[in-house]
């Protein structure tokens, strides 16, 4: 009797969940469905399927977004930023965790405290300084991402180091390894799970960042969000093209999510709980 009631309860929860899920993906449904319509088709109704699927919207958007180039820029900038954030933050996290002195405590505190500073508070001088150094380009942008991304990353690596025994280092040093060899061959591989978390958390914001690239990059070197901004401005009143462009811009993220959803969700929960 009781089992039955519980079962019925579960079924109603399941239905509620699925309904909510449908509401959640409705915006994506509306985007995709209307991206296949003609301008007139959208005007006569946005909820239903297109009378006849139009692919030319996508072709036009693909060309106007210079999609392959924007994708390449996004991949290059995000990839290099993540690589240096992981390498340098893990080194710093290791050095700070293994050296328990007052000075290293202060350095660690400064890195963590810097997370309080909102981007707008450093934005204007940052652009001014990098402008004067002639560094308002992709290289400069990658360096900026190191500066903005290293705090949280060092924090996470520092926390993870407490789980790695000091005898690991000592054994390596006795075997004749220097500090860098010890770090690179012994410690860094052990930090792999936290490196995945650090990579995921940083990819999410760097890939999607708009404001910083808009201040640093020219249109010809634009990343996907920046290019999307220009593109959208051009097609404000032409939803069929705008929506096709948005669909294309989202596609790489959806594909990535499809393959790595478990790692992504675990990574985010790992980062949030720490």
């Amino acid at each position: 009797m009781k089992k039955n009631k519980e079962k019925r309860n579960l079924i109603s929860i399941e239905i509620l969940g699925l309904l909510l899920g449908l509401i959640w993906i409705a915006p994506f449904y509306l985007m995709i469905v209307n991206a296949f319509k003609t301008k007139r088709d959208i005007f006569s109704g946005v909820l239903g399927f297109p009378e006849e699927a139009v692919f030319s919207n996508f072709v036009e958007a693909f060309i106007d977004l210079a999609f392959l180039k924007s994708l390449f820029n996004s991949v290059l900038i995000t990839g290099l930023s993540i690589a240096i954030i992981i390498l340098f933050s893990s080194m710093a996290g290791y050095a700070l965790a293994r050296n328990k002195s007052k000075l290293s405590g202060i350095i660690f505190f400064i890195f963590v405290a810097a997370m309080l500073i909102p981007f707008q508070s450093v934005m204007i001088p940052l652009v001014s300084i990098f402008g004067q150094a002639d560094m308002l380009n992709a290289g400069g942008l990658i360096f900026m991402y190191l500066g903005f991304g290293c705090s949280l990353s060092i924090f996470l690596y520092h926390g993870a180091m407490t789980g790695i025994s000091k005898s690991m280092d000592e054994a390596a040093i006795i075997d004749g390894a220097n500090r860098f060899q010890t770090f690179w061959y012994i410690i860094f591989p052990l930090l792999k799970p936290i490196s995945v978390t650090v990579a995921i958390l940083n990819v999410i914001w760097i890939w999607n960042d708009y404001l910083l690239p808009s201040l640093v990059l020219s249109e010809s070197n634009a990343t996907i969000p920046l290019k999307m901004f220009y593109f959208f401005g051009q097609y404000t009143k032409q939803w069929h093209l705008a929506l096709a462009g948005l669909t294309i811009a989202i596609l790489p993220v959806i594909i990535g999510y499809f393959f790595a959803q478990k790692q992504i969700i675990n990574g985010v929960s790992e980062g949030a709980v720490k």
């Binding site: 700070l96 002195s101 909102p118 508070s121 500066g147 969700i265 709980v273």
Partner: protein, 286 residues
């Protein structure tokens, strides 16, 4: 690894340079220039608190602060209710639990700029269409008034971030020992009693974490604001972050914008530190 050792400093040099050149130096530099008539390149005169006095008298800036505060209060409450609700839902023993986690979390991976454009379409065209079909006039012109623009931003943010907050609550929910719930069941506690006396107190720390995140996120929001309403109508839905960018790069008033940015920093820092303080206090009591 001692301070004195060369390797200690070699390991730290790249990040010290990164943080120093990108965050610390610009921050101090900006603090100094907010007291001058800096135009982004040179400063001619030290003008003391003039920029600061001016910004407190400017209604546009004060409006943007007020708008941001209202937005933060509403989104923090809403996001925590939704996040906890979704977490409770997907952690029940339902078949679609994992699928739903994936779905609810998805908007987080897509940038605020792009999501704002999608919702612009929804608020303008889809809402307009539904208004035509159902005759609900209130759905028309959602982004063209201050009030509906505000709720538009709230809806977008809630939809985008609820999945993130859900993940935080799930992490804490899954740490609750199963025996505790079972014992309460055997003792005859109703599901509401179990929630109130066991689940809720044990996920309270998640609330601390997510309140910190949602608050700072709500204050710093920019992309969604830009792409959904662009601050309109008449800058009435413009939040602080956007106001500062406008003052700097549209109006070209660098020193003045920097003074606003310093105030912005103070607001964010005070909120964050107050929160940390209260948490510490509560932890001692527990």
């Amino acid at each position: 690894m001692q301070n004195r050792s060369l390797s200690f400093w070699l390991f730290l040099t790249p990040v010290i340079m990164g943080l120093g050149i990108v965050v610390v130096i610009p921050f101090l530099y900006g603090l100094f220039y907010s007291f001058t008539d800096w135009n982004g390149i040179t400063a001619n005169a030290f003008i003391g608190f003039e920029n600061y006095i001016k910004l407190f008298q400017e209604s546009e800036f004060m409006d943007s602060i007020w708008f941001t505060v209202k937005f933060a209060v509403v989104t923090v409450i809403l996001l925590n209710i939704m996040g906890l609700g979704l977490a409770l839902l997907v952690t029940r023993n339902i078949k679609s639990g994992n699928l739903l986690r994936t779905v609810f979390f998805m908007p987080n991976l897509i940038g605020g700029l792009i999501l704002g454009f999608i919702w612009q379409f929804i608020f303008i065209s889809v809402f307009g269409d539904i208004a035509g079909l159902t005759g609900i006039e209130g759905l028309n012109g959602w982004l063209s008034t201050t009030n509906t623009g505000f709720w538009g931003l709230v809806i977008l943010t809630a939809w985008q971030m609820a999945g993130y907050i859900m993940i935080i609550y799930i992490a804490y929910l899954e740490n609750i020992p199963k025996e505790l719930i079972e014992a309460a069941k055997i003792d005859g506690a109703s599901s509401f009693q179990r929630f109130k006396n066991i689940t809720f107190p044990l996920v309270a720390p998640a609330f601390t974490v997510s309140m910190f995140l949602t608050l700072s996120m709500a204050f710093k929001i920019y992309d969604q604001n830009l792409s959904l309403t662009n601050g309109g109508p008449f800058n009435s839905t413009q939040m602080v972050a956007m106001e500062i960018v406008r003052t700097a790069f549209s109006d070209n008033q660098m020193a003045y914008a920097q003074a606003k940015a310093v105030i912005f920093f103070l607001i964010v820092a005070v909120i964050a530190l107050t929160q940390v303080y209260y948490n510490k206090k509560r932890e001692v009591e527990m």
